[in-house]
Subunit: 252 residues, 2 copies
């Protein structure tokens, strides 16, 4: 990957993921979107509903990535502390903001429903812009390069769609995959030679076990022509290995 | 949670997770096992197949947790670099070790199959002990408090079972969950009061959307009696809110 390619990081906030009660779904979704957008995910941290942990993760990751995305902890309950942690990370104040309050009012329709708990969701750090939430009203927000979004997958995904057009990515990373029903140990030698012969292509090998051993070999590049040459070399390698029933997933 | 409760951290190693090609399954599995074992997961990092990132994650996490578990990057191919990164993190050497080589030989049955690529899987950092892999032979290893395991879920899970009896956990964290078909915003006020009245219990609220809004309220404690009192208070709260069709998931 070229050094000026934008990079992204994610902070997943939630005790329920770490306890094993809930299976995170947002990371996988965001990963695919960011690969497509040309701002690939370089690191993810899953942290507890803990002030110090959230602030540290946001500050470390925003310093070294083009974009940061958080998931979780912006609801109305006492354990939702992400918004104030983000304000603390940036050293700015946080309060209920008129535009966010208007959005909640429009969503709930009745001022009596804007309880103090719900109004927590209109607290926005100073200097942030809002991220639309077409599902349940309460907005996310963006401050500098950090996008703060909900944890419920349906709402998270909707917020990702709100943010997606604003992302400025580099050329997308293309990948060409070969699913080879042979043990990785029998592929590794020729693959290492092939990787050495194509130093500009990144080759990954991802073993699987489904009744028998196999490996998915993935070549990655931002250059479509170089990738096609690598795929041709992988085809020759499979043939030399006598691999039958190889499945290819070429780039779109 | 009491301050002397053991804690765990996980490092998931793999470009394929970050690119969105593969959905991680190991974190969720390990999280449940560690909660049961009384050494709950406090943080997870997903990092690329990158030497510097892997070494930094291992060193930061092993310094502040009782146990660290890694997943991925110990196969036979050139992009499997976890074992040497762990050796570097501990500042020790790494080489093919006789006992690990014997295990591979027993698994493959034929010395000719012990190619240089496969022998990479017998490289063990100095001072480590082996973790049994009943699925595919090639062992994981443990060095000080760091457990290095495979990324393929079937093998990862088998290694977790090899390690599980060695973990010394604190009293397990018990949880009692209430699935309430009401919007979080209508629950948040009474829940915050209830949390203030039971300062030794951790209360979490996890919203869901399935045709309508709802929230799973989870009370957590290591003390079964205190947890039962909190559950009783939650039942009274649901009644006062007029919540119908509440589902309980009491601790086992």
């Amino acid at each position: 990957m070229k050094d000026d390619t934008p990079t992204s990081a994610m902070v997943v906030i939630g005790d329920e993921i770490l306890s094993g009660r809930t299976r995170d779904a947002n990371m996988h979704h965001l990963a695919g979107v960011l690969t497509e957008a040309g701002a690939p995910l370089k690191e993810v941290r899953v942290v507890a509903d803990d002030r110090e942990a959230i602030v540290a993760a946001i500050n470390e990751l925003r310093a070294r990535n083009t974009y940061v995305f958080t998931s979780g902890g912006i609801g109305p309950t006492h354990d939702d502390i992400t918004a104030e942690c983000v304000a603390e990370a940036f050293g700015v104040g946080i309060d209920v903001r008129a535009d966010a309050r208007e959005i909640l009012l429009a969503h709930y329709g009745d001022p009596d429903k804007l309880t103090p708990s719900r109004l927590r969701m209109a607290r926005i750090p100073e200097g942030a812009s809002l991220i639309a939430n077409p599902v349940s009203g309460a907005p996310g927000f963006k401050i500098e390069n950090v996008h703060v979004m909900a944890g419920v997958p349906l709402i998270f995904n909707a917020m990702v769609e709100s943010v997606r057009p604003t992302l400025e990515g580099g050329p997308p990373m293309l990948s060409h995959a070969f699913r080879i029903p042979m043990a990785e140990g029998d592929i590794a030698g020729p693959l290492a030679e092939l990787a050495a012969a194509h130093p500009d292509i990144s080759f990954g090998s991802y073993p699987f076990y489904q009744g028998g051993y196999g490996a998915t070999i993935v070549a990655r590049s931002q250059d479509r022509d170089e990738l096609a040459q690598a795929a041709e070399a992988l085809r020759a390698m499979c043939k030399a290995l006598g691999a039958a029933n190889v499945t290819e997933l070429p780039p779109l």
